[in-house]
Symmetry: C2
Subunit: 114 residues, 2 copies
Amino acid sequence: MVQYPVHLDTTFAALSDGTRRGILERLGRERASISDLAARFGMTLTGIKKHVRILEDAKLVTTEKVGRVRTCSLGPRRLEDERVWIAKYQQMLEERYDRLDEFLRRTQQERTDS
Amino acid sequence: MVQYPVHLDTTFAALSDGTRRGILERLGRERASISDLAARFGMTLTGIKKHVRILEDAKLVTTEKVGRVRTCSLGPRRLEDERVWIAKYQQMLEERYDRLDEFLRRTQQERTDS
């Protein structure tokens, strides 16, 4: 049913943490430095850096260091393949329920007819 | 912007593996035993059981043991909260690009006017 882009493993794993989802939402509004993010999420610089590294590996975030400040912004991936995977999965479920409905309707009809 | 249902951590983590996504697609078509799944994915029973346990913990799969056969079917969760999180995130990105477009258009206009 669905192709398997290899990067779905990495992006879904990156999304499996509330702080990382929060960082994406924050960067969706505007760029932020590692220190900004650490203050915003009440974490150490080291803790935030680990999360940012995982988001970078998933190409959801890019970072740029100018002087001593590392600034984070959103990366090239926009979760489009992830959206499509979930949409196709839900569509498959819906078609399955439709078939079940049809089966139950026919069974009911046959009972009424007999 | 977005509420944080705690279970998003668990479901996104469950989706971060190609075999587990494959199991969901397979069960979306019909129920299957652990042995069916092991044969389908060329894995050991132990390997498949580990994946099924993670999907069960995420409430994406339920299992029922009758005699010696454990049958797997889809669980109560349908990835709706996950779909909504991604949709809201993409909507935020789109609005951000719209604002950027508007800013560039105005800047261009001001240059033309002056």
